[in-house]
């Protein structure tokens, strides 16, 4: 018993269960259960890439088709300005952050209902579930990035020192997705039809986010677009990947950061407030 690393620390534990008692140890528990968070993420990644051939193929085909489509719609039909950058690259560098957000947001949003069998049978801080969904999105992103970088070089663009700032924008995309995902997943437990909201947001989002066009040649629209917190992320990541050949719009980035923290704080607040009922209604 005492040979196990946690045995001794658990041995002295006294757990008090009372009505309405906010569990004082919530954040400590979250840390203690970090291995479980890792394992849940690992499970999802493993299952996703188990059929390896199809999994990797899917990771290539989906963005490739989307790049071609959006290049056609925005570059050829709408004749959006490219500022000397090959249009497929504008789209590709927009799709990377967009896909990251999409998979993190929908993953976190579906996470509680998707793991309802765990929620009704074991105790652990529920925040782990949406949190581990982010890891899956991150792995998908890394795979896609590894495939996209050679394409960028083939098209004659070389990323510069700006690439070093990429992790910041990745973190920002994940924060926004997590904050919004917390709201959706907690609401979905109570109101199942909230799951229809996610695809709707994503369908609209791909057009009001500068995924298929660059904002620096649209001065009239730029401030309006910046109200969308993802604009700052997409602009920023495009700036990183194309070696500064597009502008970084700082006010837009400011909005992104502010909204990210607002969503995160309110998301955690709502999640924690409803968490104790999850097992009763899921």
């Amino acid at each position: 018993m005492s040979s196990s690393p946690h045995g001794s620390s658990f041995a002295s534990t006294e757990i008090i269960i009372e009505a309405g008692r906010p569990s004082a140890n919530y954040w400590r528990d979250l840390w203690r259960y970090r291995e479980l968070a890792g394992l849940l993420a690992w499970r999802d990644i493993k299952v996703r890439y188990k059929q390896a051939a199809l999994g990797i193929a899917w990771a290539v085909i989906q963005p490739a088709v989307q790049t071609i489509l959006l290049t056609f719609v925005f570059g050829k039909l709408a004749k959006m300005p490219d500022g000397g950058v090959p249009y497929p690259l504008i789209v590709l560098t927009g799709l990377l952050p967009w896909q990251l957000f999409t998979s993190a947001f929908s993953g976190a949003g579906n996470s509680l209902v998707g793991n309802s069998h765990l929620i009704s049978k074991v105790y652990f801080p529920r925040l782990l579930v949406p949190l581990s969904a982010l890891a899956v999105a991150l792995v998908d992103f890394v795979v896609m990035l590894a495939l996209a970088l050679p394409v960028i070089v083939i098209f004659g663009q070389s990323p510069g020192w700006q690439l070093l700032l990429l992790p910041l924008f990745v973190a920002l995309a994940l924060l926004i997705a997590f904050g919004a995902g917390l709201w959706i997943t907690a609401l979905t437990v109570k109101f199942r039809d909230f799951r229809f909201i996610t695809p709707f947001i994503l369908q609209v989002g791909v057009f009001i986010t500068p995924v298929g066009f660059r904002t620096d040649f649209l001065p009239n629209w730029r401030d309006l677009l910046a109200l969308n917190p993802l604009s700052g992320v997409v602009d920023g990541m495009r700036w990183c990947l194309l070696g500064g050949r597009t502008d970084l719009y700082l006010p837009g980035l400011g909005v992104s950061i502010a909204v990210a923290f607002l969503l995160l704080a309110s998301g955690i607040w709502y999640f924690r407030r409803t968490e104790r009922q999850f097992a009763d209604i899921i």
């Binding site: 018993m1 690393p5 757990i15 291995e35 009763d280």
Partner: protein, 415 residues
């Protein structure tokens, strides 16, 4: 003296069922809210709310090292109690103190993923149950050996037979080392041999380090076999909490209050896994005549079916009061199995030429299955019955206790 391991005081859990409202969707909720406002404005009342107390003012304490069984009919509050103790759901009122590391097993194989291998699932399930990776690694070989699945450890569990799956799941759980273990029904899985192994494992676990166990079971024989005290819940309240023998007998007797020769079994609690299109409705012993040692005995098992079934057989078992089976009578032991159509009712009758049980009290269990191993219905210890001494039996025979009394041909030689 040390503090109790589990201390429960005034524990209550209320569920509110609001009539006229099954709002699973936001639209329904908005619609409902609008109607509620309308009704309030018009009649000054909202919709009726029905309160349902799953647990009401429950208090008890469990000392370290005790094994306590929790019994009660369906809806008595057993699962709610376990869910509160496992911190899955919150109580409405009251307080619980748990002293020590807690692990709860509300089902076997929580979080098993069909696409992952046995090895991967051991780590995943172990972490879900609260083990660290280091602990799991240290016990890995033991777990695999206990589950008897060595050669399939790298096969995805979706290819496992249900027996292998259950064995692996229980093996992980059995190697938890909590100070307080909360178990729900999980013993009702696997074949009889594996069940015995599990019971043995639980006994070892508790005997060793003075671990505290709270065990919920429909199977009164398992409870009797393992537990020192029994907590009996009835409609959310504590009916009794005392030594096992008393509770077990009282619990069994309530199902057959008049004379213990006819048993209505349709509404008895069952393990969900055994519900398979056939329900044993009642069991009648000896057409209402007392059972007498070494005399012929008959039993009728009444059933109804809800779907067409093939190769059906029935069985009846007599066990002593601590749950050890003494006599097993299976209809397919030397006779054929039969097919049954959907929606039929009927009974099977068995006759034993001589009941070779000594006078005493016995537990009964019955079941039906299809083919070799598909359980259709099973009622563990659905009742107790009395076997009486034969008139003319030697005086004192009645006090010698139960058990199988075999009659034999005796040949005497004196030299």
């Amino acid at each position: 003296m040390s503090l109790p391991a589990i201390e429960v005081s005034g524990l209550s859990k209320r569920y509110v069922i609001e009539h006229e409202s099954r709002h699973d969707s936001l639209r329904d909720t908005l619609h409902h809210a609008a109607r509620k406002v309308w009704r309030r404005a018009r009649w000054g009342t909202g919709f009726e709310k029905e309160e349902f107390w799953a647990l009401r003012d429950l208090s008890f304490t469990v000392e370290p090292g005790e094994i306590v069984g929790v019994i009660g009919r369906n809806g008595a509050g057993k699962s709610t109690l376990l869910k509160i103790l496992s911190r899955i759901t919150e109580p409405t009122a009251g307080r619980v103190a748990l002293r020590g590391r807690v692990a709860s097993l509300l089902e076997v194989g929580t979080g098993f993923h069909p696409d992952l291998t046995g090895r991967e699932n051991i780590f995943l399930n172990g972490a879900i149950l609260g083990m660290t990776r280091l602990e799991i690694r240290g016990k890995f070989d033991e777990i695999v050996a206990f589950a008897e699945i060595e050669q399939f450890i790298d096969t995805p569990v979706k290819r496992y037979s249900s027996g292998m799956y259950v064995r692996l799941a229980f093996a992980v759980a059995a190697h938890l080392e909590p100070e307080i273990l909360i178990v729900d029904e999980v013993l009702a899985v696997g074949d009889a041999q594996f069940q015995r192994k599990c019971v043995g494992k639980i006994k070892d676990v508790t005997r060793g380090d003075g671990r505290t166990v709270l065990l919920v079971s429909h199977n009164i024989a398992t409870v009797a076999n393992l537990c020192s005290r029994v907590l009996w819940l009835e409609r959310g309240r504590l009916r009794s909490f005392g030594p096992t023998e008393q509770a077990a007998e009282a619990y069994l007797r309530q199902f057959s209050p008049e004379h213990s020769l006819a048993f209505a079994t349709a509404a008895l609690p069952r393990d969900q896994r055994h519900m398979g299109g056939l329900t044993i409705v009642s069991v009648e012993l000896n057409a209402g005549e007392p059972l007498v040692n070494r005399e012929a005995v008959s039993a009728r098992i009444h059933f109804k079916t809800s779907k067409a079934l093939t190769d059906v057989s029935f069985g009846l078992g007599f066990a002593n009061t601590d749950g050890t089976r003494l006599i097993t009578v299976d209809s397919d032991f030397h006779l054929e199995r039969r097919d049954l159509p959907a929606g039929c009712t009927g009974y099977v009758e068995l006759r034993l030429a001589s009941l070779d049980l000594g006078p005493g009290t016995y537990c009964l269990d019955t079941g039906a299955r299809s083919g070799e191993a598909t359980p259709l219905d099973y009622l563990p210890s659905f009742g107790v019955t009395e076997v009486h001494p034969r008139s003319g039996a030697p005086a004192g025979f009645a006090f010698l206790g139960g058990g199988v009394r075999a009659s034999a041909q005796w040949h005497w030689v004196t030299l």
